[in-house]
Symmetry: C2
Subunit: 241 residues, 2 copies
Amino acid sequence: MLAKTVPPLLAQAIHPQAQACAACPVRDTALFGVLGQGSIRHIYAGIDSLALAAEARVYARGEPGTAVYTVRAGIVRFQRVTGGGERRIVRLAGRGDLLGPEALLQQPYADEAVACTAVQLCRIPVNLIDRLAQADPGLNQELMRRWQRALEQAGAWAVELSSGVARQRVLKLLAELARLADGSAEIWLPRREDIGAMLGLTVETASRMVSQLRREGVMTSLSRRCAALDTAALAAALRAG
Amino acid sequence: MLAKTVPPLLAQAIHPQAQACAACPVRDTALFGVLGQGSIRHIYAGIDSLALAAEARVYARGEPGTAVYTVRAGIVRFQRVTGGGERRIVRLAGRGDLLGPEALLQQPYADEAVACTAVQLCRIPVNLIDRLAQADPGLNQELMRRWQRALEQAGAWAVELSSGVARQRVLKLLAELARLADGSAEIWLPRREDIGAMLGLTVETASRMVSQLRREGVMTSLSRRCAALDTAALAAALRAG
DNA sequence: CGAGCCGTTGAGGGGATTCAAGCTCAGTGG
DNA sequence: CCACTGAGCTTGAATCCCCTCAACGGCTCG
């Protein structure tokens, strides 16, 4: 498979990290998907692969940004504290998503990014992106596309998950979590407090809704942080309003 | 195509539109603020100045995007319809803001853009931006900055204006409207239905809150769509929680 | 002048919050 | 091994805030 994407003779001359990136399972969906083989070869250093446990912080809001991150596996949340002092989750990032592009503009990180599940990230230094972008203008285009997608998703998140009655919001959140699990019926189930922070509800209300949906058979708890959805029942409940 | 739109002899002189742009009052805050005089001279055609009445639509969601718009004066809202069929306002744009950058990525407009007040816009065709960006790479950087700012504002909007009790949300909205009026105490006061669509409240609740704040002297109606704020009282009310 | 839209206010009901108490479960140390 | 502990989850009861339904007044416009 490596031989298919990279000519064998060149393989010796190519930096190990470049080979790893060329063979990356999320490469086509991630930031470097646009880079040609020529550019991929220039990824010779600076990229770190890191694994974080759930609840580990990737970066803090206001921190000077020196790197962006690509999500290889797991779910990351962007959160912020309101003027009133309460925590709100702005949106989630999943496989292939990019964290912290504001670092490329010499700006501090706009949100706090925290791992929801165990995650695997690629840490890409800002100056590497800068260099690659000079050689391959397609990268800038891809970055803009990602900004636009983030904007679109932020809007959808705000519009869909912060209006309507609590039950409806939780249902929509479950659908979103299924999407993040690539449509699988087994989803990551957030802590009740996090559900509250996503939907603008209290812990108690979040708990009540989850319990109710469990009793109705829309979902089944598999473990503390994992549940199985009955997607048909979920769709029906969403439609029922 | 260049020869068709601009007579050869005039091409060396500065086009009237280029002069207008160079003298634009919002030029330093708007998209073309980064362009040098050299690039500004290339804005010889294609930019239209347009004035829209309140409630006029700039573009619809899903419409193929052929142009971006810069706000010279007035306020524009981005809105969307939820899965449940209700209208929600995602954020507002004011002087110097850019509308519809997704058009630059050959994407349809993500939101519906509607004038809140009478507005003055500059319509900039996508292919003009493309041409300018080739000559002046700083323009791409500036575009990314704008995407990031939009993302930041969308997050702040969602977080601040869709949690807390109704009174608090309306107060925060008033503060935001003051910001859009360049800190002036005279603000544009939205229709009650629009306040509802911004804050996730019903028309009646929005009306009650506005009336209450008027009785408390936080604001005074100057005309149907315009009010004067007592900024000190507003700040105090916000702090009081 | 009637029609219609918008804003306002009231009354009642329902849903979310608040406060409070038990519960499960994993980790800890005796 | 097991009580102990603490964090997270659940559930109940009372309260409160917002929504719903309804009626009315002001204003613009045909």
